[in-house]
């Protein structure tokens, strides 16, 4: 039954399908040789010190997250101010808490037409996923800001200070929320647990900073606290009725942003952690020449110095912190060690 002589329309369809396949394979082969000039093109690009075709600005998170927002803000400044001779186009490569993006950029060795925005997952993911490369393999460009952590509770919470929270955490295992598993939010909670000798937190992993804040605001799953960044908690803090309230800031000094200027530091309330931030840093593929690295450092220094970025940082309560060159390298080594220690201590690997 199944075997039958092809009727004319069937032959026509098959012929067309075949034609389609031929066209497709023609496209594929047409692409193949064009791949060679590109690689030789990057060989010539190795000689040139600025991009010769559009640049991909790789974002390791999904659209709408903090990292995505910052990258788009930077790309917009680069575009509007013409800081780069070629367009710099944001591209989301989410997945595996950054692993997909890191792998993608790692494979572009020596090609300056790729830059990537990174946060602390650049350390945690490379360590916990046992990726085939290290954070230090990439060409460091610059850090543009440090995003502090606050300790947030629901506005109806009985706790008034960081110490109240710690006392409660010593009594019971508190349910807390954070972005992702084995990432910066969990790292900070584990550090609190370790430093303050509290009971282990029950940690609920959420998909984004916004949903973490929502979980605290809505008591979702019994969540009582988070370590959201200032910008993530702001809307629910300003909501009427107020839904969230920061207890303290994990910073060496109170924030300068007007709305948070009265917020005490956590160390002043007996939680001695003031050295942990989310970096908002730019990395490039491994093996860029010094001149190429310098090109990107200059571009992002111009972004950092622009009024738009200054306003953006103050709007989002980011700590201005430009690091490049040796200073940035030392920062990377320090953060790599810090995350390695947490990963070992809490058996993340």
């Amino acid at each position: 039954m199944e075997v039958r002589v092809m009727s004319r329309p069937a032959i026509r369809i098959t012929a067309l399908l075949a034609a389609a396949l031929v066209t497709l394979s023609a496209c594929a082969t047409a692409n193949a040789p064009s791949a060679t000039p590109t690689s030789s093109g990057s060989a010539t690009a190795a000689a040139s010190v600025q991009p010769t075709h559009p640049v991909e600005f790789v974002i390791s998170t999904a659209p709408g997250g903090g990292s995505d927002l910052y990258a788009r803000a930077m790309a917009t400044i680069i575009e509007t101010k013409k800081f780069s001779p070629q367009p710099v186009t944001p591209l989301n490569k989410e997945g595996g808490s950054g692993a997909v993006a890191f792998q993608y950029v790692y494979e572009k060795t020596g090609d300056m037409h790729y830059v990537m925005i990174t946060l602390n997952s650049f350390f945690t993911t490379i360590i916990t996923q046992k990726l085939a490369f290290k954070a230090t393999d990439f060409t460091p460009v610059a850090n543009l800001a440090l995003d502090p952590f606050f300790l947030w509770v629901n506005d109806d919470s009985p706790w008034k200070t960081g110490q109240d929270f710690i006392n409660a955490a010593k009594e019971n295992s508190l349910t807390v929320a954070g972005t992702g598993a084995k990432q910066e939010d969990e790292a900070l909670f584990r550090r609190i647990e370790d430093t303050m000798k509290t009971k282990p937190f029950t940690y609920l992993s959420q998909t984004s900073g916004a949903t973490v804040a929502a979980a605290v605001a809505g008591h979702q799953g019994g969540v009582v606290a988070s370590v959201n960044n200032p910008s993530e908690g702001l809307t629910l803090y300003q909501a009427s009725p107020k839904k969230l309230r920061p207890l303290c800031a994990f910073m060496p000094a109170s924030p300068t942003t007007p709305i948070y200027s009265t917020l005490p530091t956590c160390s002043s309330q007996g939680i001695p952690i003031d050295d942990y931030f989310i970096m908002r840093a730019i990395m490039a593929p491994p093996g860029l020449s010094q001149a190429q690295q310098q090109f990107w450092i200059d571009v992002f220094k111009k972004v950092y110095d622009s009024d738009e970025w200054k306003k953006f940082m103050s709007d989002n309560a980011l700590q201005p912190s430009f690091k490049s060159g040796l200073e940035f390298r030392q920062f990377i080594l320090q953060y790599q060690q810090l995350h390695q220690d947490i990963a070992t201590k809490f058996k993340w690997v």
Partner: protein, 518 residues
């Protein structure tokens, strides 16, 4: 009422010539972006984000941040409508929420030879859904967004179970085959990164598989390519060739008549879609599946589903468009985006120097109410454009399927590639094209697979979060009144068809004969 005054003010802003002009440009762009598979509303909005900075800073005469958001949102509205066109005409989903229209949209267009009616049905229900949603947005945005905050893991899991429950009957002709497809879908959904423990899962060491198997390339393969392969062999499975498409609005009037018969379904799905859209992170796609399940559950002609039933187009489309509008509600009111597209629009707000949330309503009422008014205008504009295009689009279907087939293949491949600029997605499309062909031959239903693949990940995540929050006790699901009600509702929805079937069997009546395709 105060709201009416504010809305009138909003219309005054939205009707400003520059705003109307940009809205028009945006919806046309959105329609085009929606039609191109792979290039979704989210990436469309993201690509155009830098341009909006110029708009927001007054580079165009009279433009400001309100013009910018009207522009970005307009793209979204266009994409909500446009995404369905390729689903219906070519069996390739243009947007994730248009996947469900493959079930009945394409059959109505091609097997029953009514592409104009299929398109018009989708557009009228989209419009009505969006209208209901926008009215709810206008009056109840803040209280509803605050209520949605209370949806924790237990409640969300219950909502997902509810969606699955309404879809249980899909492919009821062969329950075991449906079950197998459901399991395969859940298995595929499990591939990638386990966000609860941060471990790699079922990726065979492939880093690129860590983002999971996206359902868009899978559905493009299963439906688009699979259908072409099957029809090449079976000479078009009785497709109506040479559809007589007359230039005129006959199909539109017929669609309106059909809509009036289904007014209750469309309105209730629009309301459900609204609540779904408000829940952070779920949005239009999940709503469209729930909408389809409900349409089928309460239809007298269940056996027509999957063969070109109009309720199978109108039900999901009303829910999807309503959810799309609603996904802006938590973003504007609380800064929590309800969908990826609204997340990108929120990024726009930050870049223009605005802070979403209650402060926005107080400090920038023109912005908020201008946006709300533009949602009404944008949908009206998109609706009119789409209806005018129906006869032209239907004309495409007069071209014999054999001639457009190569184009469909090319569009499918480009679409899957452009989704993430990744060759992996192209391989997935081709592989699932072959699998789709084989499943068709074996008469396995495809819908349960797709639904499980789309909803599987979130369902699993919420289940596990609820169990962690409840320290391992399943009783946690009955901790809150809301989740108890939702879970019980889901159980009832599963039980009713089961009991009916068992009763029918007891009475000795044969279950509905397994209808085999000729």
């Amino acid at each position: 009422m105060e709201v009416f005054g504010q809305l009138a003010g909003g219309f005054a802003v939205a009707l400003h010539p520059i705003n109307v002009a940009m809205l028009f440009v945006a919806v046309v762009l959105g329609l085009v972006i929606g039609v191109l598979p792979g290039l979704g509303g989210t990436s469309g909005v993201a690509i155009l984000l830098p341009i909006t900075v110029f708009i927001a800073h007054g580079s165009l005469p009279g433009s400001d941040a309100t013009t910018a958001i009207i522009f970005l949102a307009g793209i979204y509205w266009g994409a909500l409508f446009g995404g369905v066109i390729t689903s219906i005409l070519f069996n390739i989903p243009g947007e994730p929420w248009a996947v469900v229209l493959l079930f009945d949209g394409f059959p109505l267009a091609k097997r029953l030879g009514k592409p104009g009616l299929a398109l018009a049905s989708s557009f009228v229900s989209s419009f009505l859904g969006a209208l209901v949603s926008t009215i709810l947005f206008t009056f109840f945005a803040l209280p509803i967004a605050l209520k949605a905050l209370e949806f924790g893991p237990a409640e969300l899991f219950a909502v997902f179970v509810l969606s699955f429950a309404t879809l249980i009957g899909l492919g009821a002709e062969a329950p075991m085959k449906s079950l197998a497809m459901l399991a395969l879908g859940l298995l595929l959904a499990a591939v990638g990164f386990d966000t609860i423990t941060g471990e790699q899962r079922l990726n065979f060491g492939q880093i690129s598989l860590l983002s999971g198997i996206s359902f868009v390339p899978v559905t493009i393969g299963l439906f688009g390519i699979g259908e072409i392969l099957a029809s090449a062999e079976e000479q078009g499975i009785g497709f109506v060739e040479n559809i007589s498409a007359k230039l005129g609005l006959r199909d539109v009037f017929e669609a309106v008549r059909e809509l009036r018969k289904r007014l209750r379904l469309v309105l209730s799905n629009a309301i459900i879609g609204f609540f779904f859209g408000v829940l952070p992170g779920h949005g239009a796609t999940a709503a469209s599946f729930l909408g389809y399940g409900l349409a089928r559950q309460y239809s007298k002609n269940k056996e027509n589903f999957g063969k070109g039933e109009i309720s199978g187009i109108m039900g999901p489309q009303a829910a999807a468009d309503s959810a799309g509008v609603a996904s802006l509600v938590p973003m504007i009111t609380l800064g929590i985006p309800g969908s990826p597209t609204s997340a990108v629009i929120m990024a726009g707000l930050f870049i223009w120097g605005l802070q979403p949330g209650p402060v926005l309503f107080i400090q920038h009422p023109d912005f908020v109410w201008g946006l709300i008014a533009s949602i009404y205008l944008g949908h009206l504009l998109t609706f009119i454009l789409c209806l005018l295009a129906v006869p032209l689009l239907a004309m495409i279907m007069r071209v014999p399927y054999a001639i457009i087939t190569p184009f469909i293949v090319v569009i499918s491949i480009i679409g899957s590639y452009s989704l993430n600029n990744s060759m992996l997605d192209v391989f997935i499309t081709v592989i699932f094209g072959l699998i789709g062909y084989w499943l068709r031959k074996m008469k396995y239903p495809l819908a349960p697979l797709v639904v499980a693949l789309v909803l599987g990940d979130s369902t699993e995540r919420e289940l596990r979060k609820a169990l962690i929050a409840g320290h391992g006790s399943p009783l946690y699901f009955f901790n809150s009144g809301l989740s108890t009600v939702l879970i019980l509702l889901a159980v009832v929805l599963v039980a009713i068809p089961l009991i009916r079937t068992i009763r029918a069997r007891r009475r000795g009546a044969a279950p509905p004969a397994a209808v085999a395709h000729p």
